[in-house]
C-alpha cells in the first residue's frame, strides 16, 4: 500500500520508466528459464504460464525495493515460490488429479513417475530436493536460497531423498 501511495505521489518519469524497463528486461532474460523450470518442478503441470507471469508482475511491482546487494535470482526465486505456494493451496485438488491422470507413454512414464514421487514430498522438502538434485545446488546454496540453516537444508534434502527413492523402489525402479 505504501509503495502504491509512493507511486501515485511520485510517478516515474518516462526516462526512469525506460531505465526500469531495460533493467527488468535484462533480468527477465537471465532468469526466465530458471524460474519457469523451478515452478514446473514444484507444480509438475504444463499450464504454469499464469504462475510465471504473476511472479514477474509481483517482481515488477517490488522492483524498486529490491536490494541489489543480494542475488536477484534468489530474490526472484522467493517471489516465484510464494506465488507457487499460493497457487498450490488454491488448486490442490486440480493439480493432484492432473498428475494422476497423466497418460503413461514411453516418454511420459519417467515424467509421470517423477511427478508422483515429487508429490509424495511435502512442499518444503520438495523445494530443497529440486534445488539440490535438479539444479545441483550445494547444501550451502540451498540453505542460502531458502533462508534456513545448513543443517536444516541437509536434513530436508536427506528426508526428501529417502522418501523419493522409496517411492521409486516401490514402483519398480532399480535401487543400486
Amino acid at each position: 500500500m505504501i509503495h502504491l501511495i509512493k507511486d501515485i505521489l511520485n510517478p516515474l518519469s518516462e526516462s526512469s520508466l525506460e531505465v526500469k524497463r531495460e533493467d527488468f528486461d535484462k533480468l527477465y532474460m537471465e532468469n526466465a528459464e530458471f524460474i519457469r523450470t523451478s515452478i514446473y518442478w514444484m507444480v509438475r503441470n504444463q499450464n504454469i504460464d499464469d504462475i510465471v507471469q504473476d511472479t514477474f508482475l509481483k517482481a515488477w511491482k517490488k522492483f524498486d525495493s529490491f536490494n541489489r546487494k543480494s542475488s536477484f535470482r534468489t530474490w526472484l526465486y522467493r517471489i516465484a515460490m510464494n506465488t507457487t505456494y499460493d497457487y498450490l493451496r488454491k488448486n490442490k485438488n486440480y493439480l493432484e488429479s492432473e498428475v494422476s491422470s497423466e497418460i503413461s507413454g514411453d516418454n511420459n512414464e519417467l515424467k509421470d513417475l517423477i511427478s508422483k514421487a515429487l508429490h509424495s514430498l511435502n512442499l518444503k522438502h520438495r523445494e530443497a530436493f529440486i534445488l539440490f538434485y535438479k539444479f545441483e545446488y550445494s547444501q550451502k546454496e540451498v540453505a542460502e536460497t531458502l533462508s534456513i540453516s545448513e543443517g536444516t537444508a541437509k536434513s530436508r534434502i536427506h528426508y526428501a531423498k529417502e522418501k523419493f527413492t522409496t517411492f521409486l523402489k516401490n514402483n519398480g525402479v532399480e535401487n543400486e
Partner: protein, 104 residues
C-alpha cells in the same frame, strides 16, 4: 541410489515446458492491466471520498447557516444585547476575605 544416479535420473526428465516467445510482452500487458485496474479502483475510491466530503461540508454549512439566521424574539434579542453590553469583569463583586484586616 546414490546422489549422482538420482541427479542423472532427474536430468533425463526433460518435460519442462518451453518459455513462450512473447512471454515478456504478455507480462508487460499484465502489468499495464494491473496498473489500470488499480487506477480505476482509486478513481472509484476518490469519487466516493469526494462525495462524502461534499455531503459533510454541505451538512456543516447548512447547520451553521440555519443557526445564524435563526429569528429571535424581542425578549431574546434584549437579553442578548444586555449580555453583550454587560461587563462583568469590571464590576468588583468579590467580598472581602475574612482574614484581611481592613481597618489597617
Amino acid at each position: 541410489m546414490n546422489d549422482q544416479k538420482l541427479k542423472d535420473l532427474i536430468k533425463n526428465d526433460k518435460s519442462a515446458p518451453k518459455t513462450p516467445k512473447n512471454e515478456l510482452d504478455q507480462i508487460y500487458q499484465k502489468i499495464e492491466d494491473d496498473a489500470s485496474s488499480i487506477m480505476n479502483l482509486l478513481n472509484i475510491k476518490s469519487f466516493a471520498l469526494s462525495c462524502c466530503l461534499i455531503i459533510v461540508v454541505s451538512g456543516v454549512k447548512f447547520s451553521i447557516t440555519e443557526l445564524s439566521t435563526q429569528q429571535l424574539t424581542e425578549v431574546e434579542q434584549q437579553e442578548l444585547i444586555e449580555y453583550m453590553l454587560e461587563d462583568q469583569y469590571l464590576s468588583n463583586t468579590d467580598s472581602s476575605y475574612a482574614w484581611v484586616d481592613e481597618s489597617n
